[in-house]
Structure formats: structure tokens, C-alpha cells
């Protein structure tokens, strides 16, 4: 038992990347155990995507729009549901992690480990993003054959750039929502659900933000999801390249940078963990 004789466990110096990866590994193990739920969410995601995108076909059949416009609407709605599937998966994974650990009863043991809070958050975010990519690609692959859509004009590089930069800002939003239950043990979980609901309303997921009443449009500027959706639709429907989307990308990068202020906020985790269960 070599390790027991090691007088100072503290002498182990493990890099933040390896520590963060431990969280990815754990979430993957959990995910395997909850595969039935994963299947449920996949089916839900596919059905949601189909149900909403078929609205475009209805619009065409009812003669409200011509075939050409209806095709654009198919793409518009398809991208909206897919991006929202992706964003909500990231938001869920990150924002529910504290609630989850509280429910499992492991939170005290995780929080008392010698892992800096930001490493914990990065680990959870990396898992959230990877998990969301897998789920969204599956939904995309299953839903695509239902619609004859034309991707010939799409600039995929620009789309990937928007998703990559956008993921950082969404992870930040997820962390904000995830920290709430720690700061406010009584109401935090409810608050983090509300954050997600409001983001859905103001970000123009199924419509352009211009259709919202003026005062809601103002809020939409504050949601990174607005710019992600804008950028993705620009890249795939209009074929805008990275250059044309520079402004959107810059705004998203700014959101991402803002969230980097978070480690100082997270230093409050310890005092906020005071109502963790197990007393």
C-alpha cells in the first residue's frame, strides 16, 4: 500500500486538465447508467424537432406561403429546434449538476476535494458540450430524412465557428444558472429553470426576435442564444462566411469573456454550500 506511506497527499500535483477530465469521466459513467433516460430525451428531441418543423409544411399546404418560402421556413425552424436542443442540453447539464449532486448526496464530498471551483466548472462544461453535440447530431440525423432541405448554399465552417464560440457563452449562462441553487438553496433550482424558459422566449428560437414586443426585444440583446441563432441561420440559410459573421462572432466572444469573471463569484460556493444535505 505504497500510497498510505506517502506522508503528504498534498505533494501530488495533478494538472487542472486531468482534474477537470475526472468530472467528464464521472458524468460519462453516470450517463451510461441512465441510458434509458438518454433514450427518452433523444426521442423527445426528435419528436419536438419534427413537430415544429412540420408547421412549415402546413403553411405551404394551406397556401399561406409559396414552396420557396416554405422551404426557407423549414430550414429556419429545423435550425431553431436543433440549436435549441443543443443549447438546452448544455444548459441542463451544467445548471443541474449541483442540484443533481445535492440529490445524490455527494455534494459535500465533491466540494471538499482539493479541486479549484473553476476546474470543476470547466469539467462540467466540457461534458455538457460533448454530450449536447452527440445528442444533437443524432436528432439531426434522424430528423433530416423527413424533409427535403437544400444545404447547397450553407457555409459549414462559419456555422461551426458560431457554435464553438457560442458554446463558451452558453456554458457561462449554464454556470450562472447552476450556481443559483448553491447561493440560494431554497429557490435556486426554480430560478435556474426560469432562466432557461426566459432564454427560450427572448432568443428567437422559433421566430425572429423582430416579432417580439419592443420591450422584450431589448432583453433579447442580452441573450447569447440570440446571436448564436442569428449566426447559424446566417451561415446555413444565407451562406454567410466567417467574415460576414465577424460582428456576431465578436459579440459572442465578448459574452464568453464576461463569464470569465465567474471564478470570483464561485468562491462563494463554499459558504453557499452550507445547506447541503446530510445534517
Amino acid at each position: 500500500m505504497a500510497s498510505f506511506t506517502n506522508p503528504m497527499a498534498a505533494s501530488r500535483s495533478t494538472g487542472p486538465v486531468i482534474l477537470a477530465w475526472a468530472f467528464v469521466e464521472r458524468q460519462t459513467n453516470l450517463w451510461k447508467r441512465y441510458w434509458a433516460w438518454e433514450l427518452v430525451w433523444l426521442v423527445y428531441g426528435v419528436v419536438n424537432t419534427l413537430a415544429i418543423t412540420f408547421i412549415a409544411r402546413e403553411v405551404e399546404q394551406a397556401g399561406i406561403a409559396g414552396a420557396r418560402d416554405a422551404n426557407d421556413l423549414v430550414l429556419f425552424l429545423l435550425l431553431g429546434t436543433l440549436v435549441w436542443a443543443y443549447l438546452s442540453a448544455v444548459l441542463d447539464d451544467i445548471s443541474l449538476v449541483i442540484t443533481w449532486e445535492r440529490w445524490e448526496g455527494t455534494i459535500e464530498h465533491t466540494l471538499m476535494a482539493p479541486v479549484p471551483r473553476w476546474v470543476h466548472l470547466v469539467g462540467m462544461s466540457v461534458f455538457g458540450v460533448l454530450h449536447a453535440i452527440v445528442r444533437t447530431l443524432l436528432i439531426f440525423a434522424i430528423a433530416l430524412p423527413f424533409f427535403a432541405v437544400d444545404f447547397s448554399q450553407a457555409d459549414w465552417l462559419a456555422a461551426v465557428a458560431v457554435m464553438a464560440v457560442g458554446s463558451v457563452s452558453i456554458a457561462g449562462l449554464g454556470i450562472l444558472a447552476g450556481v443559483l441553487p448553491l447561493l440560494y438553496p431554497e429557490r435556486g433550482t426554480q430560478m435556474s429553470f426560469m432562466v432557461q424558459a426566459v432564454v427560450l422566449l427572448i432568443s428567437g428560437v422559433y421566430y425572429s426576435v423582430e416579432v417580439l414586443p419592443g420591450w422584450l426585444q431589448i432583453l433579447s440583446y442580452a441573450s447569447p442564444a440570440t446571436y448564436i441563432l442569428d449566426g447559424i441561420r446566417g451561415a446555413i440559410i444565407e451562406g454567410e462566411g466567417v467574415g460576414a459573421l465577424a460582428e456576431t462572432l465578436a459579440i459572442l466572444a465578448l459574452f464568453g469573456a464576461l463569464w470569465c469573471r465567474f471564478p470570483s463569484l464561485c468562491s462563494r460556493w463554499r459558504s453557499a454550500g452550507r445547506s447541503a444535505p446530510g445534517s
Binding site: M8, L19, A22, N29, R33, G105, A113, P114, R270, A276
Partner: protein
């Protein structure tokens, strides 16, 4: 390394109730959160534990033992007073303290659907152990605790409470802490498993120079394991000493070996160990 492992100085802890708007804004504005109606759970607690010592903390339900352990493990901030673990302050140097300690609580607290091995893998990894080290250590530790190895791949919620508790003990010793906080480690174990765990604790403590703080309701366990004992009642340390010293304090001429430790506790604290304490007093002591 320092000879003094733990130094607790005048620690008090309150639990405040109700919503406080200052908490809401305190991360962006320079205000400090106030404490409205409060329960005074730890009162001016002071004691020291020497390196390599096993120190027992005995008290009735609700006397503040777990709260104290949470303060020592950096999960709660003391409202006043200070705690040093091998010279590191639990508030100012929480990172250094965390690397030195680990804890077993009465409630095993694992990811229920993951196997014990997967749980141990995660909790070892976040203390910086490599998967290779964990693969070697886990079967060894589990064997010494009398835990059947073939159970290690079962989901935690298929294990009995006692088996889970053994995995919890394994989790904390796996990371070779220099200081262990054992909060009722044998609660819920059958006599045989209790002995397995007690023997394991004693062996590790003897062979690996671990300092242990143990809370328990079990007087026999305290006497077997502890070098020194403190009685805690109403959040206050009311008596401390070796088991023999504590007996002598109430002996009044009787031979010490005839005195039951439970009676010593009764006499020194004025409480019955089996009885819950009244909830911590409100407000008046804020």
C-alpha cells in the same frame, strides 16, 4: 511537519433563517450578509489535537458534532474563531486544508447508480490519484475492510447500508489523508462489520501516522479507538481528557474500572447520551 495537527480556537457557528436580500447582491456590491433569527449551534469551541492522535468527540443528537466536522472540512465557515489544520487556516487556505483531509460521514453519500468502483474512481481522481493507482489500491483497501470484491461492480443502491459505509471508509482512506474526520463511521454496521472498520481505522492510524477526529455515540468505540475524548453538549465542549482522566473526575473514591463511561457522560454533561438535545436556542444568542 508540525506536531500540532488541529487547532480549534473559540469557534462559534450560527444558522440564520429567512431570506436576506444582502446575500443576493453581496457578490456584486460590497455589503455583508446579516444574520436574522439565528440558532447558536457551536459556542466558543476550543481544543487541540496532536499529530498522530485519535481524538473523540462525543455528544447527543443535535449537539453540534457534524456542524463542527463541516467547519473543519471547509464546507461551513465559522462565524467567529479560527481553525488550523497543520498550520493552514480553513478559511484563508482552504485549498491546502482540503488536500490534507478527508471525511467519512454517517450517511455514505454516493452516486447511487454508479458502482462502488466507479465512485471510488471519481473520488480518487479528484484527489489527484491516477486510474492506475486506484486500480491497485481499491481491491486492497476493500479487502482489508472485509468487503467482497465481486460487489465492487454492483451499483451502490444494490448494496446494504453497512456495505456502503465500508465503501465510504475506503473512499476516505484511499486518498491517504494526513487527517481524517470520521463522523459516526460505524453507525448502521453490524457488530462484525463494526469491528472490521474499527480494526482498519486502528491499523491505518498506527502504520501511517494519520491524525483522526472521531465522533460517535458509541462509548465502547470511543474507548477502544480514542487517545483523548471531549464531551460536547449544546454546542459547547464541557469536558476533555483521556478516558481514564474523565473517569477519575467522577470517581469520588470508587475504583475507576467500575465506572461506566455512559454515566461519566451523564454526570459531566447533565445529558443522557440516548436523548436528543433540545433544538439550538434561537435569537437570544445572536
Amino acid at each position: 511537519m508540525e506536531q500540532q495537527a488541529l487547532k480549534v480556537t473559540n469557534v462559534s457557528k450560527y444558522f440564520g433563517g429567512g431570506f436576506d436580500y444582502r446575500k443576493l447582491v453581496s457578490w456584486c456590491l460590497p455589503v455583508t450578509a446579516s444574520r436574522p433569527a439565528v440558532a447558536h449551534v457551536l459556542r466558543d469551541v476550543s481544543f487541540e489535537v496532536r499529530r498522530g492522535e485519535v481524538f473523540g468527540l462525543i455528544g447527543a443528537n443535535g449537539s453540534g458534532k457534524s456542524t463542527l466536522v463541516r467547519v473543519l472540512s471547509t464546507l461551513l465557515l465559522p462565524d467567529s474563531g479560527s481553525v488550523e489544520v497543520f498550520g493552514h487556516d480553513v478559511v484563508k487556505a482552504s485549498g491546502s486544508v482540503r488536500a490534507l483531509i478527508n471525511r467519512v460521514s454517517a450517511d455514505p453519500s454516493f452516486f447511487r447508480n454508479m458502482s462502488s468502483y466507479e465512485n471510488l474512481l471519481f473520488f480518487g481522481r479528484i484527489y489527484g490519484l491516477s486510474p492506475g493507482e486506484i486500480r491497485v489500491l481499491v481491491p486492497e483497501v476493500l479487502r482489508r475492510l472485509g468487503f467482497k470484491e465481486e460487489m465492487a461492480s454492483e451499483p451502490m443502491n444494490h448494496l446494504s447500508r453497512g456495505q456502503q459505509q465500508k465503501v465510504a471508509v475506503a473512499r476516505s482512506f484511499l486518498t491517504s489523508p494526513v487527517m481524517m474526520l470520521l463522523d459516526e463511521p460505524t453507525t448502521g454496521l453490524d457488530p462484525r462489520s463494526r469491528r472490521d472498520v474499527q480494526r482498519f481505522i486502528r491499523d491505518v492510524q498506527r502504520d501511517h501516522d494519520v491524525t483522526i477526529l472521531l465522533t460517535t455515540h458509541d462509548m465502547e468505540e470511543a474507548e477502544i479507538l480514542c487517545d483523548r475524548i471531549s464531551f460536547i453538549a449544546g454546542g459547547r465542549i464541557v469536558a476533555s481528557g483521556t478516558p481514564l482522566e474523565l473517569r477519575e473526575r467522577v470517581a469520588r473514591g470508587r475504583p475507576v474500572e467500575e465506572i461506566d463511561m455512559e454515566d461519566v457522560f451523564m454526570e459531566l454533561t447533565g445529558h443522557d447520551l440516548e436523548e436528543d438535545e433540545a433544538p439550538a436556542e434561537m435569537a437570544a444568542h445572536g
